[in-house]
């Protein structure tokens, strides 16, 4: 791969030296909903690498494009920059576009930017193009979704003359114009287009720009043209309370001073209106006839009349959400069971061939169980991201935010938080991954922190056991089943607490400036199956890679905690405490005879975990729990439903699940020292409330750690949820006792 042209170019332009050792870097930049990602997949053949932008948890996707022109092949690295309407920024997330374009903040410097423009919404899309051209970066414009304006397409040649850069009409979804685009990219890499768009602003603003320019740090002064554009950027981005990073204090002071001096002048409007005036004057020349209302938009409006209808719209919305939830909750079940069966068969196979030893236990209960613990999340993750892909691609996700905004706003949440919150009823892990559909860090964080309070499917077996064991199958008013009523009450309780917590946390721990909503409702489009499938795969792969190892390590640690120190005489295997998964059935074989079970029960009592359970008993007693429950809670940290199998082991019952009669009987018969029943209905309620609120799930914490890339938030989450659970159970139990229950 030779790049002679490129090197000669860099010789001419000291400011834009591409390193000779790496492939040229191409940025894809553009407004949201312009088909940028579809174009990225087209160019790179879906072989995306996922990383993060330096210093911020925003996903950076890159891939390789092989340019074949004139018999030579050349590798180009392509980066998909997050969608942006403008380069001006007030937050670190919005700052990424500028940093990526200029190669700032440890970003590699790009050799070319392909601006993806929605041919159906040219005016707004050209706004971003004018900003890039003012910055004097090398640009090629992809006039995308040209198929949607077939009856009145803008003239690419005319647009190219206006902007002074190559413009290529494309339709990334169907692959139209890709050859021409690649040719334009090759040509632009060889001979960079120099647009140097200079927009003349009102004279007072020009003077402001000079004042700002003199305060720019030296590295912003690559050329006079760029310094001017950066002065404009600084003047329309820096505010007293912005959240920008790496802004020179002198520059900040100067911008604020210039803004203050502007008095009655309206700097933002001068800048923006001038740019739009330029675009508005040009637009009529690009079209054969000027339409206010493109055809695509008219079709979308007709669909919206139904989908956003006060009655039908909500009915359809509820149906769509129910369908999504149903798929997550029920349809994933066969796959989850299959994974569990495979895991337990693997463990059985090892046990059949490897002689009993510590290492065999480590392998079956720690490693194989741990891998099972990771893989078991895949069905729900894949299904959820399939649904999200379809919702996003079709344009319906924006409508979900539109429909739910009123409700979500009152909770301080973003409208887009609805889908992750709903998914939380199935499992918090995919739900937390799904918060990526929100752009703002603060919105994501708040949603992540409250999602684990939703009643996930792992809590159900615990509730079933407690309700089944401690509450009679009687009916209230002769027809309302008590047990069913309790289950519904637990759902309502957790939902209520989630909503309250969102309100409280949004005003305290993740307090952020209230950002008014601006939502674009993109035209409805047919979702692309290949794009959705590749996104599902990427999400699943990044979960396996990022959270998988952590979950595995924690499973092994928990296994060790409940297996060591090992009993002196080993004739039966110690309890498989950490071999676990979603449905609460241990994957390993259990001691079958009574002696073995008693032995297992005493082994777990002797283990570090058992001792820990006894050590924390004084703390748990005010909630009505004894040390056996304490051990169960420790085991449940691997996953909530493991509480049942761990409790089963403590009582010397092998292979316990929520419907096991012996475990229920044990619970009913368990007596305290004074002979009274250890498990009262009140204590059962206290235990359920504790499970509803506490963060008994290492996988959730691991995923939050990976998503926020800091220990702070998982620790905070564990702390606030555990405190909440403790206080609520304490109040319930002690209050109930005072009332004589």
């Amino acid at each position: 791969m030779t790049q002679p042209e490129l090197n000669s170019v860099s010789g001419r332009e000291p400011g834009l030296v591409p390193s000779a050792s790496r492939a040229p870097l191409l940025l894809l930049i553009g407004n949201p909903n312009t088909g940028k990602t579809t174009l990225f997949n087209r160019l790179t053949g879906q072989n995306a690498r996922i990383g993060n932008y330096p210093g911020i948890t925003v996903e950076r996707r890159s891939g390789d494009l092989t340019l074949r022109t004139d018999g030579t092949a050349r590798l180009v690295e392509v980066v998909d920059v997050p969608g942006a309407y403008s380069l001006s920024a007030r937050s670190a997330e919005e700052q990424i576009a500028l940093s990526a374009v200029l190669g700032w903040a440890e970003n590699p410097r790009p050799d070319l930017c392909v601006v993806v423009v929605d041919a159906g919404q040219l005016a707004r899309n050209l706004y971003l193009v004018t900003q890039l051209l003012e910055l004097d970066v090398r640009v090629v414009v992809a006039l995308n979704m040209i198929d949607e304006v077939r009856d009145n397409p803008p003239n690419a040649g005319e647009l190219s003359r206006f902007l002074g850069v190559p413009c290529v009409a494309t339709d990334a979804r169907h692959g139209t114009g890709m050859v021409e685009l690649e040719r334009a990219i090759s040509a632009a890499l060889a001979q960079p287009p120099r647009p140097a768009l200079r927009i003349q602003y009102p004279s007072a603003l020009e003077q402001d720009l000079e004042r700002v320019s003199s305060a720019l740090p030296s590295e912003w002064h690559e050329s006079a043209v760029r310094a001017r554009a950066l002065s404009l950027w600084a003047l329309t981005s820096i505010e007293t309370d912005d959240e920008l990073q790496g802004i020179d204090p002198n520059l900040r002071a100067r911008c604020l001073e210039v803004r203050a001096r502007a008095n009655a002048r309206d700097i933002d409007q001068e800048v923006i209106a001038t740019r739009y005036a330029l675009i508005d004057a040009e637009l009529p020349k690009l079209y054969l006839r000027l339409e206010v209302h493109p055809k695509k938009r008219r079709t979308s409006e007709r669909v919206d009349r139904v989908l956003l209808h006060p009655v039908f719209g909500f009915a359809i919305f509820i149906s769509v959400m129910l369908l999504m939830f149903q798929s997550l909750f029920s349809w994933s079940d066969p796959a989850i069971r299959l994974i569990e069966n495979l895991t337990s068969q693997c463990a059985n196979l090892v046990e059949a061939y490897v002689p009993e030893s510590l290492w065999r236990d480590l392998l079956t209960r720690g490693v194989i169980g741990g891998v099972g613990n990771v893989v078991v999340f895949l069905p729900q993750i894949l299904l959820l991201f399939f649904c999200i892909g379809i919702l996003e691609d079709s344009g319906y996700m924006a409508r979900v935010a539109f429909l739910m905004d009123r409700i979500m706003k009152s909770l301080g949440l973003h409208g887009r938080a609805f889908v992750p919150m709903l998914s939380g009823f199935a499992c918090a892990v995919p739900a937390i991954l799904a918060t990526r559909t929100m752009e703002r860090q603060r919105d994501r964080l708040l949603t992540m922190l409250v999602v684990p309070l939703m009643t996930c499917s792992a809590r159900l077996p615990v509730y079933t056991l407690i309700i089944g064991a401690l509450f009679p199958p009687s009916r209230v008013f002769g027809w309302l089943p008590v047990q069913g009523l309790l289950m519904v009450a637990m759902y309502l309780f957790s939902t209520l607490i989630t909503l309250i917590s969102a309100g409280v946390l949004g005003r305290t721990a993740v307090k952020g400036r209230r950002i008014p909503l601006i939502l674009e409702l993109p035209p409805y489009r047919l979702p692309s199956l290949t794009g959705t499938l590749s996104m599902m795969w990427r999400r699943a792969a990044s979960f396996l890679k990022e959270a998988g190892s952590g979950i595995l390590v924690f499973t092994i640690l928990l296994w060790a905690l409940l297996s060591f120190p090992r009993p002196a005489h080993v004739d039966e295997p110690p309890p498989p405490a950490a071999a676990i998964h979603q449905q609460g059935r241990p994957v390993t074989t259990q001691p079958q005879n009574a002696a073995g079970r008693d032995h297992a029960a005493s082994a777990i009592e002797q283990s570090y975990g058992g001792r820990l359970g006894k050590a924390i008993e004084p703390v748990l007693r005010p909630l009505g729990f004894d040390w056996k429950i304490g051990v169960g809670l420790i085991g449940a940290f691997a996953a909530r439903e493991v509480f049942i199998s761990t409790l089963g082991l403590v009582y010397g019952i092998g292979d316990a699940d929520e419907n096991t009669t012996p475990l229920r009987d044990k619970i009913r018969q368990e007596r305290k020292a004074d002979g009274s029943s250890a498990y009262s209905p009140l204590m059962g309620l206290s235990l359920m409330v504790f499970f509803a609120l506490s963060c008994q799930c290492m996988s959730t914490l691991m995923v939050v750690y990976r998503e926020t890339r800091s220990l702070r938030w998982p620790l905070f989450m564990f702390g606030y949820m555990t405190s909440l659970a403790y206080v609520a159970s304490l109040l319930l139990y002690q209050g109930g006792r005072l009332l004589g229950f």
Binding site: A123, Y276, A277
Partner: protein
């Protein structure tokens, strides 16, 4: 009048945009500058937010913020639609050198 006082189906022209700094800027960057034609398409079933058609794209903002956008009924004539129609803005955009020079109206 302001955008929050409009009725569904009305076509109005933006006179002035007020509001919190970065929000106001973003709104204008999305094309809601003085002189722009805006069609009020609808309201979400729960009463908020509003759906607007601006320069061929659907934008949605809440009532609280729509109150800051003052508008006049009807569509501006092309003369009124010139840039910076609000009295504070004085300059017209011009695209300067390289033989590309074209004056905005």
């Amino acid at each position: 009048m302001n955008l929050a006082q409009t009725r569904i189906g009305q076509v109005v022209t933006v006179v002035h945009v007020a509001g919190d700094g970065s929000f106001r800027r973003r709104l204008m960057e999305l094309g809601l500058v003085p002189g722009t034609r805006v069609e009020v398409v609808g309201v979400a079933p729960l009463g908020d937010p509003l759906e607007l058609l601006v320069r061929g794209s659907s934008l949605s903002i809440r009532h609280a913020e729509a109150q800051g956008v003052s508008v006049s009924l009807g569509e501006a004539t092309s003369a009124e639609r010139a840039p910076g129609t609000a009295s504070r803005s004085e300059g017209n955009g011009t695209l300067a050198p390289r033989g590309l020079a074209r004056s905005a109206p």
